[in-house]
């Protein structure tokens, strides 16, 4: 090889290396950054706009969100925003929920700036507010498009750092055909639900689609069944705060046994390979029409519509999850989903706030309803998500809704991922109820001194 060629090759390699170092952040795929989340470079590509020239200069803002299962829907909403604001480009970075907070934490701690990102109101928001990463939105004009009660519920230390976006009921989908064929009523208590499940099993169908291969599906269920039973049945609404400070133990909470027993009953009536099939797998199963019930938010609706339009239009119903055997307690679980926050160190704050203002407008709110199939908090936004969800209308009308997540709002303890691993031991007879509870208390003692 000639010397000049070698030199040229070296120069080329160096350029590639440098180019790779300076390259812009690619949208994070579901697993991107799993091993080195902090390695990516900040997604800023334009210098901060000066006050006067902000209107003319094109600006790119980064938008990281955890609604990765509806990536296309979010993209459509963003497209709508970009069409209305031709000077602002949005670099959308969807991240799988299981990895989202880890990635966001490492990014923030590493000094990266994300202009707009989703947060869950409550403990997670407080963590980032305390770290000084979130802009205060209190009193911004677009916040007036929300009900004051909603703003109050999502406030952190009395101030609004996050803007509410959407909310979703979390309840049980059921297959109407299976229910009518077997003459089943919509169950209003947990035992009735299990009894219905047993009948479905006797008929040779799958009672429950579980999808517990994913951590979040089981985690989501446990993270609602336990707080509901703890606060409303066992009357310990401040249990999770006490757990974190060491003032309470899982062993003192009778609800934990209830939840473990519930989990085991559901597991026994679940689809085949309960811990081997994931969320996408059970949505498939349910869409095929062989499954009686599925505990889930409204997210799979778009998927079901695509896979089985007939079932979507007339074949499925939705009932509140009966976490207890007391009918009057079993209200409809209605949770805030994503809220939006603006990075405090964002260099494109003006554009970021415009982005939020769009999401708070009726147009933005309607777009969330249409593309994500969830309810919007924006005043006057449409509420027509899907035929199945209309069945819940009586609960909304009578105000029979509650939010179990407020019982955990003041703590950051991540007991869920530990609990699901331990309760899986019980499923396979590797631990007893008491051993699971003891393992949980040991874990708390080790990690939250």
């Amino acid at each position: 090889m000639k010397k000049s060629m070698v030199l040229g090759l070296c120069a080329m390699l160096l350029t590639i290396l440098l180019a790779a170092c300076g390259s812009k952040n690619e949208p994070q795929a579901s697993t991107a950054g799993s091993s080195e989340p902090a390695a990516s470079s900040p997604a800023e590509s334009t210098p901060a706009p000066t006050e006067s020239a902000a209107e003319e200069k094109p600006v790119t803002i980064s938008f990281m969100h955890f609604k990765s299962d509806v990536t296309d829907g979010v993209q459509k909403i963003v497209d709508q925003f970009e069409a209305a604001n031709p000077n602002i480009k949005v670099d959308v970075q969807p991240v799988k929920y299981d990895d989202y907070y880890t990635l966001l934490k490492t990014k923030m701690a590493g000094g990266d700036v994300v202009d707009v990102f989703t947060l869950n109101a409550g403990a997670q928001t407080k963590l980032f507010v305390d770290g000084g990463y979130v802009e205060d939105l209190t009193g911004m004009p677009f916040m007036e498009n929300f009900d004051p009660n909603v703003l109050k519920a999502q406030a952190t230390d009395g101030k609004n750092y996050v803007m509410p976006v959407n909310a979703t009921p979390i309840a049980v989908f059921y297959n109407k055909k299976i229910f009518t064929d077997l003459g089943l009523e919509i169950p209003r208590t947990f035992d009735a639900m299990i009894a219905a499940g047993k009948k479905i099993k006797e008929a040779g169908k799958t009672p429950f689609a579980l999808g517990w291969k994913d951590g979040w599906t089981l985690g989501m269920w446990a993270g609602r069944d336990l707080p509901s039973n703890t606060a409303l049945v066992a009357n310990q609404p401040d249990f999770f705060e006490k757990i974190e400070t060491g003032a309470a133990k899982f062993a003192d909470n009778p609800a934990i046994k209830t939840t473990i027993q519930h989990a085991k009953q559901l597991f026994d009536l679940g689809n085949k390979d309960q811990l081997g099939v994931d969320y996408n797998g059970i949505v498939d199963l349910f869409a095929k029409g062989d499954v009686g019930m599925m505990y889930m938010g409204t997210w799979p609706l778009a998927d079901i519509q695509k896979k089985n339009p007939d079932l979507y239009n007339t074949g499925i119903g939705y009932f509140p999850y009966p976490f207890s055997n007391d009918e009057s307690l079993n209200k409809l679980e209605f949770n805030p989903d994503a809220s939006l926050a603006v990075g405090r160190n964002s260099k494109n704050k003006e554009a970021a706030l415009k982005f939020l203002a769009f999401m708070a407008s009726k147009e933005g709110g309607d777009s969330w309803v249409k593309n994500i199939n969830s309810l919007s908090y924006v005043k006057g936004a449409s509420a027509d998500i899907a035929p199945a969800v209309n069945e819940l209308q009586p609960y909304f009308d009578k105000g029979l809704v509650y939010d179990s997540q407020i019982y955990m709002a003041k703590t950051s303890i991540d007991w869920g991922s530990q609990f699901i691993q331990n309760v899986q031991k019980l499923f396979f007879g590797k631990a007893t109820e008491d051993e699971v509870i003891k393992a949980m208390d040991d874990w708390v003692e080790k990690n939250h001194k």
Binding site: T31, S34, S35, D98, T102, K105, T106, M108, A109, L127, D130, G131, K213, G215, K272, D273, Q274, L275, G276, V277, D278, G281, S412, D414, S417, I420, Q421, N422, Q424, K425, F427, F428, K430, A431, K446, N447
Partner: protein, 292 residues
């Protein structure tokens, strides 16, 4: 003095070539190692800006932590089984593909291909295979199977199958290279002296490819001890902690439990374990090698 100057001038050339590599190594390995060692003596939670030095607290806690021992047992079980299987299978493949076989180049490519895919991708492929692909395939023959990854009794073996499927390619290439370096006159003269295939394999081939065995054992063992990506995308330690390896345990502590200080201490311990394993292994296998 002039002598030394001459050596320096003569050797400068090589040093120049070493600088980029050394620089990268320092930046990417040494600096994080030292800062990490510092964090391992703190109670840092991973997010906040304040931290306290707590001396050897994290290390004391690690030795009393039962979950750590559980994770270590899983890790070594996983790594030892893989090291054994990968080396046996890749050596057999190498022997087969080094002989006069039709299409041997095609077969080499086929067996090497899985190693080219990223581990994350193969994790996803196999997760799908286990959960949907195999059950629907076997149901055609009336056999009812479910994903091993969903059962704590088999989850680790499910992962081992994936790792072996993906891991045999590279060692196979090294073994083939070793086999091709064998002097054919030695094998031939053994044959003339009346040695059968088994004898010539155990007394000639094996001792002569011992360097390849050493390097393969080392690479596969340390590589599988450090497994993270495969476990992370397929099971993340579950179900029921059955596949909790040391790296996911560190990850869980650092990020899920907000114990970054403890997590780094665990990483340091794991680093020492790795160094120890490597040293022991090298000293054992080097002794068995034969110089030509």
């Amino acid at each position: 003095m002039a002598h030394i100057m001459r050596i320096i001038r003569g050797e400068m050339w090589y040093v120049l070539f070493l600088i980029p590599g050394l620089g990268l190594f320092t930046l990417a390995v040494l600096v994080p190692l030292v800062t990490g060692a510092r964090y391992s003596f703190t109670n840092w939670d991973g997010v906040s800006k304040s931290l306290h030095y707590i001396g050897w607290g994290n290390y004391v806690r690690a030795f009393a932590d039962n979950d750590l021992w559980g994770a270590l047992v899983n890790t070594f079980k996983y790594a030892l089984i893989i090291t054994f299987l990968v080396n046996v299978i890749s050596l057999m493949l190498a022997l087969l593909l080094d002989s006069y076989l039709k299409f041997k180049k095609t077969f080499r490519t086929i067996f090497f291909l899985p190693g080219v895919i990223s581990i994350v991708l193969s994790g996803f492929i196999w997760k799908y295979n286990y959960a949907i692909g195999f059950p629907s395939l076997f149901s055609l023959f009336g056999i009812d199977i479910s994903s091993p990854l969903g059962d704590p009794n088999y989850a680790l073996f499910g992962l081992i199958i994936v790792a072996v499927w993906q891991g045999v390619g590279a060692p196979m290439i090294i073994y083939i290279a070793g086999l091709q370096g064998l002097p054919s006159e030695l094998v031939e003269s053994a044959k003339m002296d009346g040695a059968n295939t088994r004898q010539s394999f155990f007394h000639i081939t094996l001792p002569l490819i011992a360097p390849a065995i050493t390097i393969n054992m080392l690479l596969v063992l340390t590589g599988s001890l450090k497994v993270f990506d495969l476990v992370y995308v397929t099971t993340f330690g579950g179900p029921a902690f059955a596949t909790e390896v040391i790296t996911t345990f560190i990850f869980r502590n650092s990020f899920n439990n907000f114990q970054a200080g403890y997590g780094t201490a665990l990483s340091m311990i794991f680093f020492l374990i790795l160094v120890l394993v490597t040293l022991i292994q090298i000293s054992i296998f080097r002794r068995r090698e034969v110089e030509l």
